[in-house]
Symmetry: C2
Subunit: 230 residues, 2 copies
DNA sequence: GAAATGCTTCGATTACCATCGAACTATGAA
DNA sequence: TTCATAGTTCGATGGTAATCGAAGCATTTC
C-alpha cells in the first residue's frame, strides 16, 4: 500500500512522550521557547533541541528566531486539528475515569485550542452563530453572512483587518470532548482575544483551561442568547 | 501538561512502518485477515500478530473472529478521520513530487475512504447535494432534507433501512488531497456501494483507487448535475 | 572586552522494541 | 484420525533512537 510510510513518519514524531508533551503545550497556541518546552517535557535542553529539530523538519512546528530566543509554535491549524483528533480517540477509549477530576471538568467546559475557544462554550458559540444565520455553509466552506459581519462588528471585533490578513476567516475544528465542531480561523481567534480583553475570561497559566468569570458567563450567554440552564 | 502521554501512545502505534501499512490498507474499509495484513506490510505473521494485538488494545482496530480467520478493521470512523488527517499533513509538506505519478493522480480523483467516496468526485457529490438543498446543516449536524430523502430514494437507495441502523446517517469527512469535506456516514457508504452495484465504478484490487467507467462518469455527472468541464 | 544566557553539536550509554525461527493451539478438511 | 491452514507465544538478536555530559557557537548585557 502506497503512502503508508508517510503517516508512519509523523506518527513516530508524535509518538514520543517528550515530543507529545511539547506539542500538547503548544496546543494553547502560544509560542514557546526551547527551554520552556524542555521544562514542560521534563528533559534537558540538549534533548529538547534534538526533538524540536525533528519536529520542525517534520513540518509540525513553525519557528521564529528572535534575538537569542527561538520561539516554537504549531505549524498550522491542521496540525492542531490532527492533535485534537488524536486526543479525541484516546478520550473515547479510556474506561470512565477520564471523566472525573476537576481539571478535566474545566477543560471540557472551556479551553483554548490553538488560540480559539474550544469545549462546551466553544460549541455553544458556534451553534449560536449558525442558528442566528451569522455563519453559513456556502456549498463548500464556512463563511460569515452579511448579518454576521454586522453582528461581529457591533460586538467590537475589527472584521476588516481580519479580512485583510492571509489567514482563513472561518474554519471549523472538531472537538474531542464533545463530538462536535466549533469555530476556528482568524475569527475564532479574534473572539477569544476579545473575550479576554473584555475580562469575561482568563487563561489559567500553564494549562489550556479558560476560566470565565460569573459576569463573563452572563454576558456570554446574553450576547449569544443561550439559555443559562442548558 | 496533562493529557500528553495519551497522544504519544497512539502516535507511537501509528508511528511504526509496518503498523502504518496495515492501517493504510484498512483505510479501504474492507476487513482483512491477519495474514493478508502481514503480506501487505511485508512482515511475517508472527510479527504481524504482535502488531495487531497492540493496535487492538490501543483501540485503533476492531476484531471479528470467524472460524479460524480473524478479521481486522478500523475501530470506527474517527480513527479513519485521524488517519486521513495525518495523510493530509504529509501531503502539504512534501515538496511537489507528491503531485506526480499516475497512481497518485487516480487517488486524487476518486478513492475509497472507509467505504465511502473520497477525492475529487467525492467532493463534487458532496457539493452537489448541499447545493441542491438535499443536505443541510441543522445548527449542529449535517442532515438530509425531505427533498434529499426523496432524491436518494429515487436514486435507488433504501433510506429506511439506513435510518434503522445504529450508524450515523450523514457525517462529513475531511479530504487530504483537497482541503474540503466530503460525505461520510452510512449514506456515504450506501452511495459508493450503489455506484458499484450500478457498475459505474469498480475498486482497483489492492489499492484505494476507485475507477469510474466512462459511462459511469457520465451518469454520475448527470445525476448530480455537474458540468463535465469543471 | 568579559560574563551570562539560550541554544546546538558531538559522543557514549542505555533501553526499548521490531523482527524472526521454533514450537504451540485451534479450527477446518479429507 | 490425520493433515493442512490460521494464528499465537516464546526467546534470542539486532538496530534504532532517546538521553545526557561536555564542549562549542551566538547573542545580549555589563
Amino acid at each position: 500500500m502506497k503512502g503508508s510510510p508517510n503517516i508512519a513518519k509523523t506518527g513516530a514524531l508524535i509518538g514520543d512522550v517528550a515530543r507529545a508533551s511539547m506539542l500538547s503545550a503548544l496546543m494553547s497556541g502560544k509560542a514557546l521557547t526551547a527551554s520552556e518546552l524542555a521544562r514542560e517535557a521534563g528533559i534537558t535542553v540538549q534533548t529538547a533541541s534534538s526533538h524540536l529539530g525533528k519536529l520542525e523538519t517534520g513540518g509540525l512546528l513553525r519557528v521564529r528566531k528572535q534575538g537569542r530566543h527561538k520561539y516554537f509554535s504549531l505549524a498550522n491549524e491542521r496540525v492542531a486539528a490532527v492533535l485534537e483528533g488524536l486526543m479525541g480517540l484516546e478520550a473515547g477509549n479510556e474506561p470512565l475515569r477520564s471523566k472525573v477530576g476537576p481539571t478535566d471538568e474545566a477543560l471540557r467546559r472551556s479551553r483554548v485550542c490553538y488560540n480559539h475557544l474550544a469545549g462546551d462554550l466553544g460549541i455553544q458559540l458556534y451553534d449560536s452563530m449558525l442558528g442566528h444565520g451569522f455563519l453559513e455553509f456556502k456549498a463548500k466552506e464556512l463563511s460569515l453572512t452579511p448579518s454576521g459581519v454586522q453582528f461581529v462588528e457591533r460586538f467590537g471585533i475589527d472584521i476588516k483587518s481580519l479580512q485583510m490578513g492571509r489567514a482563513v476567516l472561518c474554519r471549523e475544528c472538531l472537538d474531542w470532548s464533545e463530538r462536535r465542531s466549533h469555530l476556528a480561523g482568524s475569527l475564532g481567534r479574534a473572539f477569544l482575544s476579545h473575550f479576554e480583553r473584555l475580562r469575561w475570561a482568563k487563561r489559567v497559566e500553564g494549562t489550556r483551561i479558560i476560566r470565565f468569570t460569573p459576569k463573563g458567563v452572563k454576558s456570554f450567554n446574553s450576547t449569544f442568547s443561550i439559555k443559562s440552564n442548558v
